[in-house]
């Protein structure tokens, strides 16, 4: 009997569960949960247990594809790679290095992301490198660096079960991060108090002692109000504020006007509940704040994050076990892709590209002259493509034509390119627009590392041979670099990780051999360092924690007579992002096969829209006709849609207004109209 188990890490959310792939006669045959894994502890969600099915679809891209006269033709690796190298070189020579951009991927390994940014910086000569954290948690990195000095989950996932209070804002963990949801349910069972702030009655909200159902885009007003109550009732941790933070007086002044009475009409929540929730959070320690994209995906995303940090510091909840500020990362390796500097302004480990000393270090290591000029975010790469300044893009494992806001504009940007190359495992709307498509290898077909939301660097192991003619995607990047005259020579991905460790202080002690049994949490400074369970103990990364005085600003687009609803978007339990994998998984697609819009019962009655009626949702950017799900899950005046369905992409509707600091789009609030379909 030819059967083996191969230990690996789940390819879906940022919780980073461990399991074994069951491999029978060389083919995937199932998933075996792991009791010993520190995150999953014998458990998995429905996406995890079915994850093996997501990568064996009949329509995997099998050979490199080159577009001729508008049609893809299969070709050999050599021809495809030669063409990629030739075209990238031509664009660089004609328009300069900064006319090119490389997109790493939060779905791919650390090793691949490291090589992708090295390709951009050392071979193409540009810092125009970014990845899809731009569409989710970039405000977290920007905001928490400003407040604390480093932008990651402060505590470990398993600490949540021992929190006395959990304050969840814009996070629906049981659906989006089920193994983190488990810790919250456990905390609740052990007597913890739960406060949930969300415009929807989410699965998370049903565990809440207080559910604050505020309007999308009013988080700063809400958080300022809670701090107003805490300060005016003297409930702040005075000793902590005095010894560990700065900027308190400015904060105090800024929140002074946000009394519960002032805030009530802004957020749509009773002043009594606001005051009660503030008291509960301030007096129940340790309190852990968790948040996700309900906070970040706004034009005020970075300021939202800093407001969350303000609240946690005010009550002395940062730098302690089971407390903290915990952004739950949405993708398997979005933390790692940030760590590896698939970002335009830093080298691996958040070392700034415009710091001459750092630049020198990397020039020496890579033996090449490097650009000191921070590059463009992917948001700005797309804008500059439309303006004619970005001419070539190399996109790895991402589908901006489904996942970015206002995809009509994204299409225009991709159409203006001279050359587009895409690595993918399945044909996506973005890949369809490429000049060259290179078949990628899925998580089951390669060895490398993912870094989960709690900064744990973990191995994935090759379980099956690359499907069809694909090779490990890290090898593809090496091949392109080598063909462009800069040989990338690594024996395997363990060798790539050794180079990462030598240049990235927070990964200094990481090697594949060391993390074989159980992953290590960065900072892990050297080979004997045990890793770091929670951050900012005794001292913040930046020294003192900094309070920021922040004013509420409404979303870029607010309801009016023509578009009277606020439209927000998000995830459901059974699907994942743009659905490339989950929609191809039989059990998941059977659980939820169609797109819908959530409508409040009162709005439904007023517009004569009943549950499961077809209705049309329109914004200034487009319209979709979908099924209505009428219930009290959303607040009156609010609509909510998932974004998993390529046949009805919610991002046709969303607003491409961006956070000025982090350049993340406002997916969570735009003005919309709802009508019964004709």
């Amino acid at each position: 009997m030819n059967l083996k188990h191969v230990a690996t890490t789940c390819p879906y959310c940022g919780a980073g569960c461990g399991f074994y792939l069951k491999v029978k006669e060389g083919e995937l045959a199932g998933v075996i949960p792991s009791k010993n894994h520190p995150v999953s502890q014998g458990r998995l969600c429905i996406k995890g247990i079915t994850s093996w099915q997501s990568v064996i679809g009949a329509d995997r891209i099998k050979k490199p594809l080159v577009k001729k006269n508008g049609e893809f033709k299969e070709t050999s690796w050599d021809k495809a790679l030669d063409l990629v190298a030739e075209k990238l070189t031509a664009v660089r020579e004609k328009h300069g290095p900064d006319s090119l951009g490389v997109w790493g991927s939060a779905r791919c390994t650390n090793e691949l992301n490291y090589l992708a940014q090295k390709l951009a910086r050392a071979v193409l000569g540009t810092n125009n490198v970014d990845h899809c954290a731009r569409t989710c948690h970039s405000p977290t990195v920007a905001g928490l660096v400003r407040s604390f000095g480093s932008g990651a989950m402060t505590n470990s996932i398993d600490e949540l079960k021992d929190s006395a209070c959990i304050f969840a804002v814009g996070s629906n963990a049981p659906e989006a991060h089920p193994l983190i949801g488990w810790r919250i349910i456990t905390a609740k069972d052990k007597g913890a108090r739960i406060i949930v702030c969300d415009p929807r009655k989410t699965d998370m909200a049903q565990y809440a002692d207080f559910h604050i159902q505020h309007y999308p885009g009013t988080d700063i007003a809400l958080l300022n109000c809670l701090m107003n109550v805490i300060i005016s009732e003297g409930l702040e941790d005075k000793e902590y504020v005095r010894t560990r933070t700065e900027g308190f007086e400015e904060l105090k002044k800024a929140v002074a006007k946000y009394t519960p009475e002032y805030t009530e009409p802004v957020v749509g929540v009773s002043s009594r509940m606001l005051a009660k929730a503030a008291r509960l959070y301030a007096t129940t320690k340790p309190a852990s704040i968790i948040y996700t994209l309900g906070i970040t995906e706004h034009t005020v995303g970075t300021e939202n994050v800093m407001s969350v940090a303000n609240l946690a510091m005010l009550t002395g909840n940062v730098g302690i076990e089971s407390g903290g500020v915990n952004p739950l990362r949405g993708q398997n390796n979005v933390q790692g892709a940030c760590d590896m500097a698939a970002l335009p302004n830093v080298y691996p480990g958040y070392q700034k590209v415009d710091d001459p000393q750092i630049q020198q270090k990397f020039e020496k290591a890579w033996d090449v002259k490097l650009s000191p000029k921070p590059g463009l975010t992917l948001t700005d790469q797309l804008i500059q493509a439309r303006e004619g300044n970005i001419k070539g893009l190399y996109i790895i494992g991402e589908d901006p034509l489904t996942s970015d806001p206002n995809i009509t504009e994204v299409r225009k940007a991709l159409e203006s390119l001279e050359f587009l190359v895409v690595h993918e495992i399945y044909m996506t709307p973005t890949a369809k627009m490429a000049d060259v498509v290179l078949p990628g290898a899925s998580f089951a077909e390669k060895t490398g590392t993912f870094t989960n939301s709690e900064r744990r660097v973990q191995l994935i192991n090759k379980a099956i041979e690359p499907i069809c003619s694909s090779r490990g995607d890290w090898e593809i990047v090496c091949d392109v670099a080598t063909r462009m005259g800069y040989p990338f020579e690594y024996a395997d991905t363990a060798g790539v990780m050794d180079e990462i460790a030598s240049l990235t202080p927070i990964y200094g002690g990481i090697s594949h051999d060391r993390i074989r049994k159980v992953g290590l949490q960065w900072p892990c400074l050297d080979k004997s360092h045990p890793g770091t369970k929670y951050l900012h103990k005794d001292k913040f990364s930046r020294g003192l924690g900094k309070f920021h005085a922040i004013e509420h600003r409404p979303p870029a687009e607010v309801p009016d007579e023509q578009y009277p609803f606020i439209l927000s978007t998000g995830r459901i339990r059974f699907h994942y992002n743009v659905g490339t994998m989950s929609r191809r998984t039989h059990l998941l697609d059977r659980e939820h096969p169609f797109m819908f819009v959530e409508v409040n019962t009162a709005d439904g009655e007023r517009l004569s829209i009943r549950d499961m009626d077809d209705c049309t949702v329109s914004t200034r950017r487009g319209q979709l006709t979908v099924k209505a799900r009428v219930s009290d899950r959303v607040k009156q005046g609010v609509l909510w849609m998932p974004f998993h369905f390529v046949e009805a992409p919610a991002n046709l509707l969303t607003n491409d207004a961006f956070c000025p600091i982090a350049r993340t789009g406002e997916y969570k609030a735009c003005a919309a109209r709802l009508e019964k379909a004709k």
Binding site: M1, Y20, G30, L44, I46, D189, C468
Partner: protein, 350 residues
């Protein structure tokens, strides 16, 4: 042919040294499946072993039950060409497997699956694999945290229904041979075995029962059957359930599957059957979108009824064998044992 032909129990013994040697020999002469450590994460699961040194002897139970070798998470029934009905190739199910280390609760569960799969529609895919397997089970000498086999009559020592059962007796194992298949294996390797030794299985059972926070199955059966359970219990479980399905997929007696056709990336057409379960809404949803077992409370109530009433009526044995896996895997902290005790407890504290 029946999967298990019971015989009058034959007693013997084997020293631990000889057991090791025996398993080593079997692993070279046949396909041996035994508890073994997986790579990297080091979980113990039933895996093919090629030497006795790979076997883990000191283990509680595996998270995935051994049913996966007879009824797999995903298995190809046959491959076919869509254009010709003569090109169907049925997957070979005749590989002979010897199992070592299966726990009594899982032997009991396999007995129930045998009954299920030969009930009305005789399921060859399952039964042919069972027919060419022989199981050496090992009685438990202590109860794990989540176990409650004594309440459902499936352990810690079996009185019948096994091929070969080993009971720890210090330096030796007492050996009981209980089926034709077991006897064949025993006779083939007779030299490794010694004279019968005394173990008091009855006493072991009583000792285990005393240490277990168990329940009275008859009372649970009566209360479920007469619908005396407070609906708030089902509502609480429904609120906790996160629809992962693991409590059912990993249940050693759950037998539900779905059938799908899959085209592989290299173009083969396979008819697959894969684990499925009644906590998935799509499992009972009909064309047109109606679902007879909705809301979730109904699905949950149905599971308790099926395992603790219906299967007792139909097969004369509990549909729960007390392995406790469903408690271990739940992300909603639903505790099956606690809930059964609430059902038993006359509903006052429900």
């Amino acid at each position: 042919m029946p999967v298990i032909s019971k015989i009058q129990i034959k007693n013997a013994s084997i020293t631990k040294t000889n057991l090791f040697k025996l398993l080593d020999l079997i692993s070279q002469e046949k396909f041996l499946i035994a508890p073994a450590e997986g790579p990297d994460l080091e979980d113990i699961n039933f895996l093919p072993v090629t030497g006795a040194e790979q076997i883990c002897f000191d283990y509680e139970n595996t998270l995935v039950p051994p049913k996966e070798y007879f009824f797999g998470q995903s298995e190809c029934m046959f491959s076919f060409s869509p254009r010709s009905n003569e090109s169907i190739t049925v997957t070979d199910q005749s590989e002979e497997l010897v199992f070592f280390g299966v726990r009594p609760c899982d032997v009991k569960a396999i007995e129930l699956l045998d009954k299920f799969y030969e009930r009305s529609f005789v399921d060859d895919y399952y039964l042919s694999k069972r027919a060419c397997s022989v199981i050496i089970s090992v009685a438990c000498s202590q109860l794990n945290e989540e176990c409650f086999c004594t309440s459902v009559g499936s352990g810690p020592v079996l009185t019948e229904g096994f091929d070969i059962q080993l009971i720890d007796a210090g330096n030796d194992f007492a050996v009981q041979v209980g089926s034709e298949k077991g006897l064949q294996l025993y006779e083939q390797y007779q030299d490794f075995f010694g004279a019968p030794i005394d173990v008091d299985a009855e006493k072991e059972f009583e000792k285990a029962k005393a240490s277990e926070p168990g329940f009275d199955l008859q009372r649970v059966y009566d209360r479920l059957k007469s619908n005396k359970v407070d609906d708030r219990l089902w509502a609480d479980i429904a609120r906790r359930c996160q629809s992962c399905g693991l409590c059912l997929l990993l249940c050693p007696t759950c037998s539900c599957y779905t059938v799908i056709d899959r085209v592989t990336p290299n173009g083969r057409n396979l008819r697959m059957r894969e684990w499925d379960c009644c906590y998935f809404e799509g499992f009972t949803r009909m064309a047109g979108g109606q679902n007879p077992v909705k809301p979730k409370e109904e699905m949950i109530k149905r599971k308790y009824y099926h395992k603790l009433v219906q299967q007792i009526d139909e097969f004369g044995m509990s549909g729960c064998t007390g392995c406790g896996r469903c408690n271990t895997v739940c992300v909603g902290n639903v505790n099956w044992l606690e809930n059964i005790r609430k059902i038993e407890g006359s509903g006052r504290d429900v």
